[in-house]
Amino acid sequence: MTTVSYAARDSATMLRRNLKHALRYPSMTVSVVVMPVMMLLLFTCVYGRALGAGIAGGAAGSGTYIDYVAPGIVLMAATSGAVATAVSVCVDKTEGIVNRFRTMAVSRASFLTGHVVGSVLQTLACVAVVIGVALLLGFRPDATVVEWLAAAGLLTAVALALAWISAAIGLVARTPETASNIPMPLTFLPFIGSAIVPPDSMPAGLRWFAEYQPFTPVIETLRGLLTGTPIGDNGLIALAWCTALTLTGHFWARRAFAVEGRG
Protein backbone atom coordinates (compact mmCIF):
# COMPACT_ATOMS: atom_id res chain seq x y z
CA MET A 1 0.00 0.00 0.00
CA THR A 2 1.16 3.51 -0.68
CA THR A 3 1.81 6.14 1.93
CA VAL A 4 -1.32 8.03 0.91
CA SER A 5 -3.60 5.03 1.27
CA TYR A 6 -2.01 4.19 4.63
CA ALA A 7 -2.69 7.76 5.73
CA ALA A 8 -6.31 7.42 4.61
CA ARG A 9 -6.65 4.06 6.34
CA ASP A 10 -5.15 5.37 9.59
CA SER A 11 -7.38 8.43 9.47
CA ALA A 12 -10.43 6.21 8.95
CA THR A 13 -9.35 4.12 11.96
CA MET A 14 -9.03 7.26 14.09
CA LEU A 15 -12.40 8.54 12.83
CA ARG A 16 -14.08 5.24 13.70
CA ARG A 17 -12.60 5.50 17.20
CA ASN A 18 -13.96 9.03 17.70
CA LEU A 19 -17.41 8.19 16.35
CA LYS A 20 -17.51 5.16 18.64
CA HIS A 21 -16.77 7.48 21.58
CA ALA A 22 -19.51 9.87 20.49
CA LEU A 23 -22.10 7.12 20.09
CA ARG A 24 -21.21 5.33 23.30
CA TYR A 25 -20.94 8.45 25.45
CA PRO A 26 -23.43 10.80 23.83
CA SER A 27 -23.58 13.28 26.74
CA MET A 28 -21.07 15.62 25.10
CA THR A 29 -22.84 15.46 21.76
CA VAL A 30 -26.21 15.98 23.42
CA SER A 31 -25.00 19.03 25.34
CA VAL A 32 -23.70 20.43 22.07
CA VAL A 33 -27.20 20.12 20.59
CA VAL A 34 -29.11 21.24 23.66
CA MET A 35 -27.35 24.61 23.91
CA PRO A 36 -28.42 26.03 20.52
CA VAL A 37 -31.89 24.49 20.87
CA MET A 38 -32.31 26.32 24.19
CA MET A 39 -31.10 29.52 22.53
CA LEU A 40 -33.60 29.04 19.76
CA LEU A 41 -36.45 28.57 22.24
CA LEU A 42 -35.27 31.53 24.30
CA PHE A 43 -34.99 33.93 21.38
CA THR A 44 -38.21 32.91 19.69
CA CYS A 45 -40.66 31.96 22.43
CA VAL A 46 -39.35 34.31 25.19
CA TYR A 47 -37.73 37.37 23.58
CA GLY A 48 -39.03 36.81 20.08
CA ARG A 49 -41.91 39.23 20.09
CA ALA A 50 -39.98 42.19 21.54
CA LEU A 51 -36.88 41.61 19.41
CA GLY A 52 -39.00 41.02 16.32
CA ALA A 53 -40.89 44.26 16.89
CA GLY A 54 -37.61 46.10 17.42
CA ILE A 55 -36.15 45.13 14.07
CA ALA A 56 -39.38 44.72 12.09
CA GLY A 57 -39.22 46.12 8.63
CA GLY A 58 -35.45 46.31 8.88
CA ALA A 59 -33.07 43.45 8.31
CA ALA A 60 -35.71 40.95 9.28
CA GLY A 61 -37.42 41.64 5.99
CA SER A 62 -41.01 40.63 5.63
CA GLY A 63 -40.80 37.47 7.72
CA THR A 64 -41.18 36.96 11.44
CA TYR A 65 -38.31 37.20 13.92
CA ILE A 66 -37.61 33.45 13.79
CA ASP A 67 -36.69 33.83 10.14
CA TYR A 68 -34.11 36.42 11.22
CA VAL A 69 -32.69 34.58 14.21
CA ALA A 70 -32.76 30.93 13.02
CA PRO A 71 -29.75 31.18 10.66
CA GLY A 72 -27.77 32.80 13.50
CA ILE A 73 -28.65 30.00 15.91
CA VAL A 74 -27.80 27.43 13.25
CA LEU A 75 -24.34 28.96 13.11
CA MET A 76 -24.13 28.78 16.91
CA ALA A 77 -24.79 25.07 16.62
CA ALA A 78 -21.79 24.91 14.31
CA THR A 79 -19.56 26.74 16.82
CA SER A 80 -20.62 24.80 19.90
CA GLY A 81 -19.04 21.63 18.50
CA ALA A 82 -15.67 23.39 18.85
CA VAL A 83 -15.62 22.96 22.62
CA ALA A 84 -16.30 19.23 22.35
CA THR A 85 -13.48 18.78 19.85
CA ALA A 86 -10.95 20.70 21.92
CA VAL A 87 -11.86 18.66 25.00
CA SER A 88 -11.66 15.27 23.31
CA VAL A 89 -8.29 16.09 21.70
CA CYS A 90 -6.97 17.30 25.05
CA VAL A 91 -8.24 14.22 26.89
CA ASP A 92 -6.42 12.00 24.40
CA LYS A 93 -3.28 14.03 24.94
CA THR A 94 -3.37 14.03 28.73
CA GLU A 95 -4.28 10.33 28.94
CA GLY A 96 -1.15 9.44 27.04
CA ILE A 97 -2.75 7.67 24.10
CA VAL A 98 -1.43 10.37 21.75
CA ASN A 99 2.08 9.45 22.86
CA ARG A 100 1.33 5.84 22.04
CA PHE A 101 0.22 6.83 18.55
CA ARG A 102 3.36 8.94 18.17
CA THR A 103 5.62 5.97 18.92
CA MET A 104 3.80 3.83 16.35
CA ALA A 105 4.37 3.72 12.62
CA VAL A 106 1.06 5.48 12.11
CA SER A 107 0.48 8.28 9.62
CA ARG A 108 1.34 11.47 11.51
CA ALA A 109 -1.70 13.39 10.34
CA SER A 110 -4.23 10.65 11.00
CA PHE A 111 -4.86 11.45 14.66
CA LEU A 112 -5.85 15.04 13.89
CA THR A 113 -7.67 14.15 10.69
CA GLY A 114 -9.76 11.59 12.60
CA HIS A 115 -10.72 14.17 15.21
CA VAL A 116 -11.46 16.92 12.69
CA VAL A 117 -13.57 14.78 10.37
CA GLY A 118 -15.40 13.34 13.37
CA SER A 119 -16.02 16.85 14.65
CA VAL A 120 -17.39 18.04 11.30
CA LEU A 121 -19.76 15.06 11.06
CA GLN A 122 -21.04 15.59 14.61
CA THR A 123 -21.43 19.31 14.03
CA LEU A 124 -23.44 18.75 10.86
CA ALA A 125 -25.68 16.30 12.74
CA CYS A 126 -26.25 18.97 15.42
CA VAL A 127 -26.96 21.58 12.76
CA ALA A 128 -29.54 19.28 11.20
CA VAL A 129 -31.27 18.84 14.57
CA VAL A 130 -31.31 22.59 15.21
CA ILE A 131 -32.72 23.30 11.74
CA GLY A 132 -35.36 20.66 12.40
CA VAL A 133 -36.38 22.32 15.67
CA ALA A 134 -36.40 25.72 13.99
CA LEU A 135 -38.76 24.39 11.30
CA LEU A 136 -41.05 23.03 14.02
CA LEU A 137 -41.06 26.45 15.71
CA GLY A 138 -42.19 28.13 12.52
CA PHE A 139 -38.98 28.91 10.63
CA ARG A 140 -40.02 29.21 7.00
CA PRO A 141 -36.95 29.32 4.71
CA ASP A 142 -37.59 29.95 1.04
CA ALA A 143 -34.35 28.32 -0.13
CA THR A 144 -34.16 26.29 -3.32
CA VAL A 145 -32.34 22.96 -3.40
CA VAL A 146 -29.23 24.70 -4.71
CA GLU A 147 -29.41 27.27 -1.91
CA TRP A 148 -29.80 24.52 0.70
CA LEU A 149 -26.76 22.75 -0.73
CA ALA A 150 -24.80 26.00 -0.69
CA ALA A 151 -25.82 26.59 2.94
CA ALA A 152 -24.75 23.03 3.83
CA GLY A 153 -21.43 23.63 2.08
CA LEU A 154 -20.89 26.88 3.96
CA LEU A 155 -21.72 25.25 7.30
CA THR A 156 -19.32 22.41 6.50
CA ALA A 157 -16.59 24.95 5.75
CA VAL A 158 -17.30 26.72 9.07
CA ALA A 159 -17.31 23.41 10.95
CA LEU A 160 -14.02 22.40 9.31
CA ALA A 161 -12.35 25.72 10.17
CA LEU A 162 -13.50 25.57 13.79
CA ALA A 163 -12.58 21.88 14.10
CA TRP A 164 -8.97 22.59 13.10
CA ILE A 165 -8.75 25.58 15.44
CA SER A 166 -10.25 23.49 18.26
CA ALA A 167 -7.91 20.57 17.60
CA ALA A 168 -4.97 22.96 17.97
CA ILE A 169 -6.46 24.38 21.18
CA GLY A 170 -6.91 20.84 22.51
CA LEU A 171 -3.25 20.10 21.86
CA VAL A 172 -1.85 23.25 23.46
CA ALA A 173 -4.19 23.27 26.48
CA ARG A 174 -2.67 21.65 29.54
CA THR A 175 -5.86 20.19 30.95
CA PRO A 176 -9.26 19.27 29.47
CA GLU A 177 -10.79 22.00 31.68
CA THR A 178 -8.62 24.63 30.01
CA ALA A 179 -9.42 23.10 26.65
CA SER A 180 -13.12 23.56 27.29
CA ASN A 181 -12.68 27.18 28.38
CA ILE A 182 -10.45 28.51 25.61
CA PRO A 183 -12.99 28.06 22.76
CA MET A 184 -15.76 29.77 24.79
CA PRO A 185 -15.24 33.15 23.07
CA LEU A 186 -15.82 31.36 19.76
CA THR A 187 -19.26 30.28 20.87
CA PHE A 188 -19.96 33.77 22.16
CA LEU A 189 -18.84 35.60 19.00
CA PRO A 190 -22.11 35.18 17.08
CA PHE A 191 -23.89 37.26 19.77
CA ILE A 192 -21.66 40.22 18.97
CA GLY A 193 -22.44 39.79 15.31
CA SER A 194 -25.60 39.72 13.34
CA ALA A 195 -26.93 36.47 14.83
CA ILE A 196 -29.55 37.95 17.17
CA VAL A 197 -29.95 41.57 16.10
CA PRO A 198 -28.56 43.61 13.18
CA PRO A 199 -25.18 45.21 14.01
CA ASP A 200 -26.40 48.69 13.03
CA SER A 201 -28.54 48.70 16.17
CA MET A 202 -25.37 48.41 18.32
CA PRO A 203 -23.16 51.19 19.79
CA ALA A 204 -20.37 52.38 17.47
CA GLY A 205 -17.43 50.30 18.79
CA LEU A 206 -19.38 47.09 19.01
CA ARG A 207 -20.95 47.75 15.64
CA TRP A 208 -17.53 48.08 14.04
CA PHE A 209 -16.47 44.80 15.65
CA ALA A 210 -19.72 43.07 14.73
CA GLU A 211 -19.44 44.10 11.10
CA TYR A 212 -15.88 42.93 10.64
CA GLN A 213 -15.74 39.74 12.74
CA PRO A 214 -15.74 36.48 10.78
CA PHE A 215 -19.15 35.19 11.82
CA THR A 216 -21.18 38.14 10.57
CA PRO A 217 -20.52 37.54 6.86
CA VAL A 218 -21.16 33.82 7.48
CA ILE A 219 -24.49 34.56 9.18
CA GLU A 220 -25.47 37.09 6.50
CA THR A 221 -24.66 34.57 3.76
CA LEU A 222 -26.59 31.83 5.54
CA ARG A 223 -29.55 34.14 6.09
CA GLY A 224 -29.46 35.20 2.46
CA LEU A 225 -29.35 31.62 1.20
CA LEU A 226 -32.13 30.42 3.49
CA THR A 227 -34.48 33.42 3.66
CA GLY A 228 -33.58 35.47 0.62
CA THR A 229 -32.09 38.56 2.26
CA PRO A 230 -29.36 40.28 0.20
CA ILE A 231 -25.96 38.56 0.40
CA GLY A 232 -23.75 41.00 -1.47
CA ASP A 233 -20.06 40.22 -1.10
CA ASN A 234 -20.65 38.47 2.25
CA GLY A 235 -20.44 35.08 0.54
CA LEU A 236 -16.90 35.66 -0.67
CA ILE A 237 -15.81 37.22 2.62
CA ALA A 238 -17.29 34.24 4.52
CA LEU A 239 -15.42 31.74 2.34
CA ALA A 240 -12.20 33.73 2.70
CA TRP A 241 -12.56 33.70 6.49
CA CYS A 242 -13.26 29.95 6.51
CA THR A 243 -10.23 29.26 4.32
CA ALA A 244 -7.97 31.45 6.42
CA LEU A 245 -9.18 29.91 9.71
CA THR A 246 -8.88 26.37 8.34
CA LEU A 247 -5.31 26.96 7.19
CA THR A 248 -4.36 28.68 10.44
CA GLY A 249 -5.91 25.92 12.56
CA HIS A 250 -4.41 23.20 10.38
CA PHE A 251 -0.84 24.47 10.56
CA TRP A 252 -1.17 25.38 14.23
CA ALA A 253 -2.46 21.91 15.09
CA ARG A 254 0.10 20.10 12.94
CA ARG A 255 2.86 22.11 14.54
CA ALA A 256 1.53 21.54 18.06
CA PHE A 257 1.35 17.81 17.29
CA ALA A 258 4.90 17.71 15.98
CA VAL A 259 6.31 19.76 18.83
CA GLU A 260 8.51 17.65 21.03
CA GLY A 261 7.70 16.60 24.56
CA ARG A 262 4.41 15.91 26.19
CA GLY A 263 3.29 19.48 26.50
Binding site: T13, R24, R102, M104, E260
Partner: protein
Protein backbone atom coordinates in the same frame (compact mmCIF):
# COMPACT_ATOMS: atom_id res chain seq x y z
CA UNK B 1 32.98 2.23 32.82
CA UNK B 2 30.36 3.19 30.28
CA UNK B 3 30.13 0.68 27.52
CA UNK B 4 31.03 2.11 24.16
CA UNK B 5 28.39 1.17 21.60
CA UNK B 6 30.02 -1.45 19.47
CA UNK B 7 28.09 -0.47 16.41
CA UNK B 8 28.49 3.28 16.37
CA UNK B 9 31.79 3.06 14.59
CA UNK B 10 31.05 0.01 12.51
CA UNK B 11 27.38 0.31 11.82
CA UNK B 12 27.91 -0.32 8.14
CA UNK B 13 25.99 -3.34 6.95
CA UNK B 14 28.64 -5.90 7.72
CA UNK B 15 26.70 -9.06 8.40
CA UNK B 16 29.33 -10.59 10.62
CA UNK B 17 28.98 -7.97 13.35
CA UNK B 18 26.28 -8.83 15.87
CA UNK B 19 24.00 -5.85 15.79
CA UNK B 20 22.89 -4.57 19.19
CA UNK B 21 19.16 -3.94 19.51
CA UNK B 22 19.85 -0.56 21.09
CA UNK B 23 23.05 1.42 20.66
CA UNK B 24 23.28 4.99 21.87
CA UNK B 25 26.31 7.24 22.03
CA UNK B 26 26.65 10.59 23.76
CA UNK B 27 22.90 11.07 24.02
CA UNK B 28 22.10 14.41 25.67
CA UNK B 29 18.99 16.44 26.26
CA UNK B 30 18.67 19.89 27.69
CA UNK B 31 15.80 22.31 28.06
CA UNK B 32 17.30 25.77 28.06
CA UNK B 33 19.90 25.80 30.82
CA UNK B 34 18.61 22.61 32.41
CA UNK B 35 20.52 19.50 31.38
CA UNK B 36 18.34 16.44 31.77
CA UNK B 37 20.59 13.92 30.04
CA UNK B 38 24.31 14.45 29.93
CA UNK B 39 25.95 12.11 27.43
CA UNK B 40 24.45 8.66 27.81
CA UNK B 41 26.10 5.65 26.15
CA UNK B 42 24.11 2.44 26.00
CA UNK B 43 24.49 -0.89 24.27
CA UNK B 44 21.78 -3.51 24.65
CA UNK B 45 22.34 -6.83 22.86
CA UNK B 46 19.38 -8.50 21.20
CA UNK B 47 17.25 -10.72 23.39
CA UNK B 48 18.39 -9.22 26.69
CA UNK B 49 16.84 -7.06 29.39
CA UNK B 50 18.55 -3.81 30.29
CA UNK B 51 17.45 -1.79 33.31
CA UNK B 52 17.97 1.91 33.85
CA UNK B 53 17.90 2.35 37.59
CA UNK B 54 17.64 5.72 39.22
CA UNK B 55 15.60 8.10 41.34
CA UNK B 56 12.96 10.48 40.06
CA UNK B 57 14.46 13.17 37.90
CA UNK B 58 17.52 11.11 36.99
CA UNK B 59 16.57 11.17 33.32
CA UNK B 60 15.03 7.72 32.95
CA UNK B 61 11.83 8.82 31.29
CA UNK B 62 13.70 11.27 29.08
CA UNK B 63 15.93 8.43 27.88
CA UNK B 64 12.90 6.33 27.00
CA UNK B 65 11.21 9.28 25.30
CA UNK B 66 14.25 9.87 23.14
CA UNK B 67 14.80 6.21 22.27
CA UNK B 68 11.12 5.80 21.38
CA UNK B 69 11.18 8.83 19.01
CA UNK B 70 8.87 10.94 21.19
CA UNK B 71 11.43 13.69 21.65
CA UNK B 72 14.64 14.52 19.82
CA UNK B 73 18.01 14.43 21.58
CA UNK B 74 19.92 17.70 21.85
CA UNK B 75 23.12 15.86 20.99
CA UNK B 76 24.35 12.35 20.37
CA UNK B 77 22.91 9.58 18.30
CA UNK B 78 21.27 6.22 18.67
CA UNK B 79 20.27 3.29 16.55
CA UNK B 80 17.41 0.92 17.29
CA UNK B 81 17.70 -2.42 15.50
CA UNK B 82 20.15 -0.72 13.17
CA UNK B 83 17.85 2.21 12.29
CA UNK B 84 18.97 5.73 13.03
CA UNK B 85 16.67 7.31 15.59
CA UNK B 86 16.34 10.66 13.87
CA UNK B 87 16.82 9.94 10.19
CA UNK B 88 14.83 6.70 10.12
CA UNK B 89 12.23 7.45 12.80
CA UNK B 90 9.52 5.66 10.81
CA UNK B 91 11.56 2.45 10.61
CA UNK B 92 12.36 2.71 14.33
CA UNK B 93 8.66 3.08 15.16
CA UNK B 94 7.83 -0.06 13.20
CA UNK B 95 10.10 -2.23 15.37
CA UNK B 96 9.53 -0.74 18.83
CA UNK B 97 6.77 -0.90 21.39
CA UNK B 98 6.41 1.48 24.31
CA UNK B 99 4.57 1.11 27.58
CA UNK B 100 5.00 4.19 29.68
CA UNK B 101 4.08 4.90 33.25
CA UNK B 102 1.21 6.86 31.75
CA UNK B 103 -1.37 4.21 30.88
CA UNK B 104 -1.79 4.85 27.20
CA UNK B 105 -5.11 3.11 26.83
CA UNK B 106 -8.42 4.35 25.49
CA UNK B 107 -10.62 4.54 28.59
CA UNK B 108 -13.86 4.73 26.65
CA UNK B 109 -13.29 1.51 24.74
CA UNK B 110 -13.20 -2.07 26.00
CA UNK B 111 -9.99 -4.05 26.28
CA UNK B 112 -10.73 -5.93 23.09
CA UNK B 113 -11.58 -2.73 21.22
CA UNK B 114 -8.31 -1.20 22.39
CA UNK B 115 -6.41 -4.18 21.00
CA UNK B 116 -8.35 -4.10 17.72
CA UNK B 117 -7.61 -0.38 17.43
CA UNK B 118 -3.92 -1.28 17.60
CA UNK B 119 -4.49 -4.03 15.01
CA UNK B 120 -6.04 -1.49 12.63
CA UNK B 121 -3.20 0.97 13.17
CA UNK B 122 -0.69 -1.82 12.47
CA UNK B 123 -2.62 -2.54 9.26
CA UNK B 124 -3.29 -6.15 10.21
CA UNK B 125 -6.07 -7.88 8.36
CA UNK B 126 -9.21 -8.39 10.36
CA UNK B 127 -8.76 -12.07 11.09
CA UNK B 128 -5.11 -11.74 12.16
CA UNK B 129 -6.02 -8.78 14.38
CA UNK B 130 -8.74 -10.77 16.12
CA UNK B 131 -6.46 -13.78 16.50
CA UNK B 132 -3.71 -11.73 18.18
CA UNK B 133 -6.20 -9.85 20.36
CA UNK B 134 -7.82 -13.05 21.60
CA UNK B 135 -4.43 -14.62 22.30
CA UNK B 136 -3.22 -11.60 24.27
CA UNK B 137 -6.46 -11.27 26.24
CA UNK B 138 -6.17 -14.85 27.46
CA UNK B 139 -2.39 -14.66 27.98
CA UNK B 140 -2.81 -11.59 30.22
CA UNK B 141 -5.97 -12.94 31.88
CA UNK B 142 -8.04 -10.03 30.67
CA UNK B 143 -10.50 -12.22 28.80
CA UNK B 144 -13.26 -12.19 31.40
CA UNK B 145 -13.53 -8.42 31.50
CA UNK B 146 -13.37 -7.71 27.77
CA UNK B 147 -16.86 -6.27 27.59
CA UNK B 148 -16.26 -3.54 30.19
CA UNK B 149 -14.84 -0.13 29.33
CA UNK B 150 -11.24 0.25 30.46
CA UNK B 151 -12.18 3.18 32.72
CA UNK B 152 -13.44 0.58 35.23
CA UNK B 153 -10.16 -1.37 35.35
CA UNK B 154 -7.73 -1.57 38.26
CA UNK B 155 -4.22 -0.17 37.91
CA UNK B 156 -2.72 -3.61 37.38
CA UNK B 157 -5.23 -4.52 34.68
CA UNK B 158 -4.68 -1.25 32.87
CA UNK B 159 -0.94 -1.81 32.89
CA UNK B 160 -1.42 -5.33 31.52
CA UNK B 161 -3.73 -4.03 28.80
CA UNK B 162 -1.24 -1.28 28.02
CA UNK B 163 1.47 -3.90 27.53
CA UNK B 164 -0.87 -6.11 25.50
CA UNK B 165 -1.55 -3.15 23.20
CA UNK B 166 2.18 -2.68 22.80
CA UNK B 167 2.54 -6.36 21.86
CA UNK B 168 -0.14 -6.26 19.15
CA UNK B 169 2.46 -4.97 16.68
CA UNK B 170 4.96 -7.74 17.56
CA UNK B 171 7.72 -5.26 18.45
CA UNK B 172 11.33 -6.48 18.50
CA UNK B 173 12.41 -3.86 21.03
CA UNK B 174 10.19 -2.91 23.96
CA UNK B 175 10.60 0.10 26.22
CA UNK B 176 8.98 -0.16 29.63
CA UNK B 177 9.02 3.06 31.61
CA UNK B 178 8.56 2.18 35.29
CA UNK B 179 6.32 -0.77 34.45
CA UNK B 180 5.38 -1.48 38.07
CA UNK B 181 5.40 1.94 39.71
CA UNK B 182 2.15 2.37 41.61
CA UNK B 183 1.20 -1.30 41.41
CA UNK B 184 0.44 -3.41 44.46
CA UNK B 185 2.94 -6.22 45.24
CA UNK B 186 0.84 -8.94 43.65
CA UNK B 187 0.34 -7.02 40.41
CA UNK B 188 4.05 -6.28 40.43
CA UNK B 189 4.89 -10.02 40.60
CA UNK B 190 2.47 -10.73 37.76
CA UNK B 191 4.05 -7.98 35.67
CA UNK B 192 7.51 -9.41 36.34
CA UNK B 193 6.36 -12.85 35.15
CA UNK B 194 4.97 -11.31 31.99
CA UNK B 195 8.19 -9.40 31.30
CA UNK B 196 10.31 -12.54 31.79
CA UNK B 197 7.98 -14.39 29.45
CA UNK B 198 8.45 -11.79 26.74
CA UNK B 199 12.18 -12.40 26.66
CA UNK B 200 12.01 -16.20 26.95
CA UNK B 201 9.01 -16.86 24.70
CA UNK B 202 9.19 -14.02 22.22
CA UNK B 203 12.91 -13.26 22.22
CA UNK B 204 12.37 -9.52 22.37
CA UNK B 205 14.85 -6.98 23.70
CA UNK B 206 13.67 -4.93 26.66
CA UNK B 207 14.86 -1.67 28.08
CA UNK B 208 13.09 -0.89 31.30
CA UNK B 209 13.41 1.89 33.82
CA UNK B 210 12.80 1.46 37.50
CA UNK B 211 13.37 3.04 40.88
CA UNK B 212 13.56 -0.35 42.55
CA UNK B 213 16.83 -2.21 42.86
CA UNK B 214 14.91 -5.42 43.43
CA UNK B 215 13.08 -5.02 40.15
CA UNK B 216 16.28 -4.48 38.20
CA UNK B 217 17.80 -7.41 40.06
CA UNK B 218 14.86 -9.70 39.24
CA UNK B 219 14.56 -8.83 35.58
CA UNK B 220 17.66 -7.35 34.06
CA UNK B 221 20.74 -8.92 32.50
CA UNK B 222 22.53 -5.62 32.84
CA UNK B 223 21.80 -2.56 34.94
CA UNK B 224 22.87 1.03 34.45
CA UNK B 225 22.62 3.39 37.34
CA UNK B 226 21.42 6.81 36.25
CA UNK B 227 21.94 9.93 38.34
CA UNK B 228 21.51 13.55 37.28
CA UNK B 229 21.45 12.54 33.64
CA UNK B 230 24.65 10.49 33.76
CA UNK B 231 25.32 6.79 33.98
CA UNK B 232 27.34 6.44 37.19
CA UNK B 233 27.72 2.66 37.09
CA UNK B 234 26.89 -0.19 34.79
CA UNK B 235 27.11 -3.94 35.09
CA UNK B 236 25.24 -7.08 36.03
CA UNK B 237 23.28 -7.09 39.27
CA UNK B 238 26.06 -9.13 40.92
CA UNK B 239 28.76 -6.74 39.77
CA UNK B 240 26.86 -3.77 41.13
CA UNK B 241 26.03 -5.39 44.44
CA UNK B 242 29.65 -6.26 45.06
CA UNK B 243 30.34 -2.56 44.98
CA UNK B 244 27.68 -1.80 47.54
CA UNK B 245 28.77 -2.12 51.16
CA UNK B 246 25.31 -1.40 52.54
CA UNK B 247 24.29 -5.00 53.42
CA UNK B 248 24.58 -6.01 57.07
CA UNK B 249 23.08 -8.08 59.84
CA UNK B 250 21.82 -6.05 62.78
CA UNK B 251 21.95 -7.73 66.17
CA UNK B 252 20.27 -6.30 69.24
CA UNK B 253 21.43 -7.27 72.72
CA UNK B 254 19.90 -7.16 76.18
CA UNK B 255 22.55 -4.93 77.76
CA UNK B 256 25.74 -3.00 77.08
CA UNK B 257 27.98 -5.74 78.48
CA UNK B 258 26.73 -8.31 75.98
CA UNK B 259 27.03 -5.80 73.20
CA UNK B 260 30.65 -5.15 74.12
CA UNK B 261 31.45 -8.86 74.20
CA UNK B 262 29.81 -9.39 70.80
CA UNK B 263 31.63 -6.41 69.33
CA UNK B 264 34.94 -7.91 70.39
CA UNK B 265 34.00 -11.23 68.70
CA UNK B 266 33.46 -9.65 65.31
CA UNK B 267 36.34 -7.23 65.52
CA UNK B 268 36.70 -4.03 63.60
CA UNK B 269 34.34 -4.91 60.72
CA UNK B 270 31.34 -4.59 63.02
CA UNK B 271 30.06 -1.27 64.25
CA UNK B 272 28.34 -1.06 67.59
CA UNK B 273 25.63 1.42 68.54
CA UNK B 274 25.59 1.50 72.34
CA UNK B 275 22.65 3.93 72.46
CA UNK B 276 20.23 1.32 71.06
CA UNK B 277 22.29 -1.77 71.96
CA UNK B 278 22.76 -2.89 68.38
CA UNK B 279 25.69 -4.22 66.43
CA UNK B 280 25.92 -4.01 62.62
CA UNK B 281 27.88 -6.86 61.03
CA UNK B 282 28.57 -6.49 57.29
CA UNK B 283 26.83 -9.22 55.32
CA UNK B 284 25.60 -9.98 51.83
CA UNK B 285 22.39 -11.28 53.38
CA UNK B 286 23.13 -14.87 52.30
CA UNK B 287 22.42 -17.96 54.44
CA UNK B 288 26.12 -18.81 54.72
CA UNK B 289 27.19 -15.54 56.26
CA UNK B 290 24.09 -15.47 58.43
CA UNK B 291 24.92 -18.93 59.77
CA UNK B 292 28.51 -17.86 60.39
CA UNK B 293 27.30 -14.91 62.45
CA UNK B 294 24.98 -17.12 64.54
CA UNK B 295 27.67 -19.77 64.97
CA UNK B 296 30.08 -17.15 66.25
CA UNK B 297 27.51 -15.98 68.79
CA UNK B 298 26.67 -19.56 69.85
CA UNK B 299 30.32 -20.42 70.32
CA UNK B 300 30.58 -17.56 72.79
CA UNK B 301 27.22 -18.48 74.40
CA UNK B 302 25.90 -15.07 73.51
CA UNK B 303 22.21 -14.66 72.69
CA UNK B 304 20.99 -11.79 70.61
CA UNK B 305 17.51 -10.52 71.41
CA UNK B 306 16.71 -9.69 67.82
CA UNK B 307 18.24 -10.07 64.42
CA UNK B 308 17.40 -8.20 61.26
CA UNK B 309 18.96 -8.67 57.84
CA UNK B 310 19.49 -5.50 55.90
CA UNK B 311 20.11 -6.06 52.18
CA UNK B 312 21.49 -3.36 49.88
CA UNK B 313 18.83 -1.07 48.48
CA UNK B 314 18.80 1.83 46.12
CA UNK B 315 19.79 4.17 48.92
CA UNK B 316 22.90 2.11 49.60
CA UNK B 317 23.76 2.03 45.92
CA UNK B 318 23.44 5.74 45.79
CA UNK B 319 25.33 6.36 48.94
CA UNK B 320 28.13 4.10 47.73
CA UNK B 321 28.39 5.43 44.20
CA UNK B 322 27.55 9.10 44.56
CA UNK B 323 28.59 9.68 48.15
CA UNK B 324 25.24 11.14 49.09
CA UNK B 325 21.86 9.74 50.01
CA UNK B 326 19.30 9.36 47.31
CA UNK B 327 17.23 12.51 47.17
CA UNK B 328 13.86 11.21 46.14
CA UNK B 329 10.29 11.29 47.10
CA UNK B 330 8.61 7.97 47.88
CA UNK B 331 7.43 5.87 44.94
CA UNK B 332 5.02 7.84 42.83
CA UNK B 333 1.40 6.96 43.15
CA UNK B 334 -0.45 6.31 39.91
CA UNK B 335 -2.50 9.41 40.64
CA UNK B 336 0.36 11.83 40.22
CA UNK B 337 0.62 13.25 36.78
CA UNK B 338 3.39 11.68 34.72
CA UNK B 339 4.17 15.20 33.61
CA UNK B 340 5.74 15.98 36.96
CA UNK B 341 8.33 13.33 36.37
CA UNK B 342 8.75 13.65 32.71
CA UNK B 343 11.73 15.92 32.71
Amino acid sequence: MNAVPASSASSASSATVVRPAIAAAGMSKSYGDTTVLDGIDLTVPEGTVFALLGPNGAGKTTTVQILSTLIAPTAGEARIAGHDLVREAGAVRSVIGVTGQFSAVDNLLTAEENLLLMADLHHLDRREGRRRATALLSRFELAESTAKPVATYSGGMRRKLDLAMTLMGRPRVIFLDEPTTGLDPRSRRIMWEIIRGLVVDDGVTILLTTQYLEEADQLADRIALLDHGRIVAEGTAEELKRRIPGGHVRLRFADAAQLARAASLFGSVATGHPDNLTLNVPSDGGITTLRAVLDTLDAASLGAEALTVHTPDLDDVFLALTGRPQLTSPPTSPLTSPKGQAR
